[in-house]
């Protein structure tokens, strides 16, 4: 039986900051940094936003759009590397906030930036086996970069939620494939506030190797090649990596048109590829074929081969905020207010 996406929703906080403004504070060429990363602005969560609130907002839109009864949800998995609690699940709060409790299973996933795609695969198994009717997969983050670090120019906040089911599919997931190795390119140790990374090592042996190998594996499994797809979405830690890997694999800019959102909202980590997919679904036509290749440091890639169904045109995709509004709108902040919002100002005390 087919398994796929029944509905979806995305959420990105309203505030923005530019690389130029960040560079101004650190005496660096912020505009140059933004240009080299292909990041024009990044989103900033308000002081009262976190991964739980972002996940809830995205899922509420998904449930309303699809007119899904929350009591029919059998599982909620939230993928993030910025869960507000070290011990106490994000997923239980989200489940309660959308009215899905108590007869469901829930858990938090963590695999750097690909925990959300891992959640989709888990839901595919549960839904495909008939154990549950709907599974919810969410990828969301309020990522942080240490002040002045290169990550600070791109690390942002946002997320997307997908309802995985068997009926009324707007996009059928035909195949999925993964590529996983032990590669120490980016990490955050227990109790550490900011992540660490291995500089240029995050490129070739990490992002590029895993994304290209996973995509090639998907082509083998699905019997496809780049020209078979109308849309492609890659993980997007910045605006340049996905463009480069897309070109290496043989995709055109037109195929990446909707899937690339990081230049306008920054790197939303676990939300990045999934917000890109949400943007593609906002514009997809029936029979469009879509390739998604996520990436998480540590490291691994998950790929999905989807095709949009006739029902994609029947879903009320205008309900809630389409992703394009998040890309175009926002309230720009000066660095001082951004630092206050992100808790970067030492307030005294312990």
């Amino acid at each position: 039986m087919d398994v796929g996406i029944v509905s979806y929703g995305a959420y990105v906080p309203r505030y923005r900051i530019t690389p130029g403004e960040i560079g101004r504070v650190w005496g660096a060429d912020g505009e140059g940094m933004g240009a080299s990363l292909n990041v024009k602005r990044k989103s900033v969560p308000a002081p009262d936003e976190d991964t739980i609130t972002i996940s809830t907002e995205a899922l509420r839109v998904a449930l309303l759009r699809g007119a899904i009864d929350p009591q029919e949800i059998g599982a909620i998995y939230v993928g993030s590397e910025s869960h507000p609690y070290a011990v106490k699940p994000t997923a239980t709060v989200v489940a309660q906030a959308v009215g899905a409790t108590p007869y469901l299973t829930a858990a938090d996933f963590e695999f750097a930036c690909k925990a959300g795609t891992a959640a989709i695969q888990t839901c595919m198994g549960l839904v495909g086996s008939g154990m549950i009717r709907y599974g919810i997969a969410i990828g969301a983050d309020t990522s942080q970069g240490a002040p002045g670090d290169a990550l600070e120019y791109s690390a942002s906040a946002g997320g997307a939620a997908f309802v995985i089911g068997r009926e009324h599919l707007i996009a059928r997931i035909r195949h999925t494939a993964s590529y996983t190795t032990d590669t120490p390119d980016f990490w955050r140790r227990e109790g550490q506030r900011y992540p660490s990374h291995s500089g240029r090592f995050t490129g070739e042996p990490a992002f590029f190797r895993h994304v290209t190998e996973c995509a090639r594996r998907m082509f083998e499994v699905a019997g496809t090649q780049p020209r078979d797809y109308q849309h492609v979405v890659f993980h997007q830690p910045n605006g340049k990596f996905p463009q480069r890997v897309g070109k290496q694999l043989g995709f055109t800019e037109e195929q990446m048109r909707y899937g690339l959102v990081t230049p306008y909202i920054g790197n939303t980590y676990s939300g990045a590829a999934l917000i890109g997919l949400a943007h593609v679904l906002d514009h997809a036509e029936p029979k469009d074929r879509i390739l998604v290749v996520g990436y998480g440091s540590g490291a691994g890639s998950d790929a999905f081969d989807l095709d949009a169904t006739e029902e994609v045109g029947e879903l009320d995709r205008s309900f809630g905020q389409p992703v394009s509004e998040f890309l175009e709108q926002g309230i720009e902040l000066p660095y001082a207010v951004y630092a206050k919002f992100r808790g970067k100002i030492h307030m005294g005390g312990s």
């Binding site: 308000a46 002081p47 009262d48 449930l63 699809g66 007119a67 009864d69 507000p84 309230i331 206050k340």
Partner: protein, 166 residues
């Protein structure tokens, strides 16, 4: 601390989901929920006849004030706006208006409920969540979302008009 956790936990349905109540005798909607209806001619008439009712979260600013001297835990958000919001179903709710500079909040501003952190019990304590309001200059039309080709499969009752008492 334990008392605060228990109190917040008991209020979860109303704080997370705007869960109110409706009198099935006179159709008056209440938020917070009530177990008897003070609008009915004799309160006993409504005993056992109150039903859960979920507000849509849509409404407009009825009145507001700007807070410059923050309550504990809100220091990072000064100045912030506390508003009385007239919901579509009628009850007046008190809540913070977020995602809009304080000077742009006005009476009549269309808002919708959004899920946010309300407060944290210190750096190591529990985080409390609930509703606030964000601007909705173009609120979703009063229609049932879903697919155009079939009736809604949602189990959530559609908001209905009714007599209202906040």
């Amino acid at each position: 601390m334990a008392t605060t956790i228990a109190r917040y936990w008991r209020e979860t349905p109303r704080r997370y989901n705007l869960g109110g109540s409706r009198c099935t005798v006179c159709r008056t909607i209440y938020f917070p929920p009530r177990s008897v209806c003070p609008s009915c001619s004799t309160h006993r008439q409504s005993l056992g006849k109150m039903e859960p009712f979920q507000l849509s979260g849509e409404g407009e600013v009825y009145s507001f004030c700007t807070v410059h001297d923050a309550a504990e835990g809100f220091e990072m958000e000064v100045p912030y706006v506390l508003a009385l919001v007239k919901t579509r179903e009628g009850p007046l709710l008190t809540g913070q208006v977020v995602d809009l500079p304080a000077e742009r909040v006005r009476i009549g501003l269309k808002v919708r409920a959004t899920f946010r952190k309300l407060r944290e019990e210190g750096k190591a304590g529990v985080i409390h969540y609930g509703y606030k309001f964000s601007p909705a200059e173009e609120p979703p039309p009063h229609r049932r979302p879903g697919r155009s080709s079939e009736p809604s499969r949602s189990g959530t009752p559609a908001p209905e008009e009714g007599r209202v008492r906040a």
